[in-house]
Symmetry: none
Subunit: 246 residues, 2 copies
Amino acid sequence: MNTTRSGRPALTRPDGTPLRVLVVDDDPDLAEVLSGALRYEGWQVRSAGDGASALTEARELMPDAVVLDVMLPDTDGFAVLRSLHTVKPDVCVLFLTARDAVEDRIAGITAGGDDYVTKPFSLEEVVARVRGLLRRAGMARQLDEGPRLTVGDLVMDEDSHEVTRAGELIELSPTEFELLRFLMRNPRRVLSKAQILDRVWSYDFGGRAHVVELYISYLRKKVDAGREPMIHTVRGAGYVLKPVTP
Amino acid sequence: MNTTRSGRPALTRPDGTPLRVLVVDDDPDLAEVLSGALRYEGWQVRSAGDGASALTEARELMPDAVVLDVMLPDTDGFAVLRSLHTVKPDVCVLFLTARDAVEDRIAGITAGGDDYVTKPFSLEEVVARVRGLLRRAGMARQLDEGPRLTVGDLVMDEDSHEVTRAGELIELSPTEFELLRFLMRNPRRVLSKAQILDRVWSYDFGGRAHVVELYISYLRKKVDAGREPMIHTVRGAGYVLKPVTP
DNA sequence: CGAACTTCTCAGGACCCTCTGAACCGGGGG
DNA sequence: CCCCCGGTTCAGAGGGTCCTGAGAAGTTCG
């Protein structure tokens, strides 16, 4: 069976081969980071720096999904989208757009089921969105069923953003939600504060690791409140999320 | 079973194969957006930019429905319609027309069971109209029953435009109706303001996402008034419609 | 032509989220 | 015993998101 570098079972194409993703961004550092994060999911990744090479790469790779910066040196996102669809009509696209350019020309982009995130984003968010796109497109053979993430009696529905523990509803802020999602996707594994910071916080975040401790404390209050704790501290190493009865 | 990219069961042809739709518009951006929205419904879509290529595409695709711009560079929509009918006599047509265009000529055409929408339109509207055309033509085997949409005790009849909650009639303005329809077609799923804007508002709308908040507030006053709320805000993410008892 | 309605902009304000700084806590080592 | 260290928690500033009311412009309809 196909497994990710992270040890989790990979989300694969219906025929069992790894999902193929193309990353298009003119900032090579960002493209590299994104590629790394997606490759970590066990997917086959290639990247391009402009619209023209994006097309040639797409023709070769025949990607299931494309992560596409809207601002490219040669063409605009809409034109690339059109050409991509002529190459592979059922391709999913996740657009990356600058916060201040928001809404200026997103019109219609999400209409086809495609999605977008605004810069600066967190890697966890991008990965989650791509997964969501592929899942909804029926492109991914889901090894776990549906949009549900389960660890012990803790359940997260990624579509409705609902989180319950032992059936009780838990209200979370956006950052709390993303942090918990990251923990739940890596259960029984110690995650260092640096790792968490890299994945859950946006790449331009300047703050210290102290926020992670803070948000872990918030989560404990909501998730572990009065119950058998699932979030554990490993001194000098990081944090683990574990079901109460392994 | 054939499912849409949105996860809903697809509206299929009587023999179970996906419905086939041809989009004809000379604005490539608009054609792209329309194709995307229709493809998202699980239908097989092709597009053309003028009357001549529309015919060749039609001969190949044998579409069940055609979305047809009345103003084309080479011929006018009515000529195309006539040729289409020689290719496939029982094809349904949804005309796209400018607001100030001659509506009386259109009126004659729609007598034949065809329909039209005026530019600028919302994607939700176009998709709903095409669905309606096919349903009425008996072209579509309806997997869910009829023109009725139900979420909890909230019921919408798409044909009569009647909406009731717990049997009580709710009066809605056109925009409120379309917004609610979009929510009801995607229950238990967080919809971002951008997503809603792309789908429910016309493609040329220049305003900000703030209107969505406003209309959600209107809907709440009518749908949730004094009752257990069904419309929920997910801060930083969007809105969800959920039945009170899942 | 006027009335009712619909849509959208604007502005005020409430509330929530995030992050900083500092106090606190408990264990281990000097 | 005291101090250091990693971790936890509290309090609060500031910034942002979201809600709502008022009203202007446009549209529909009698």
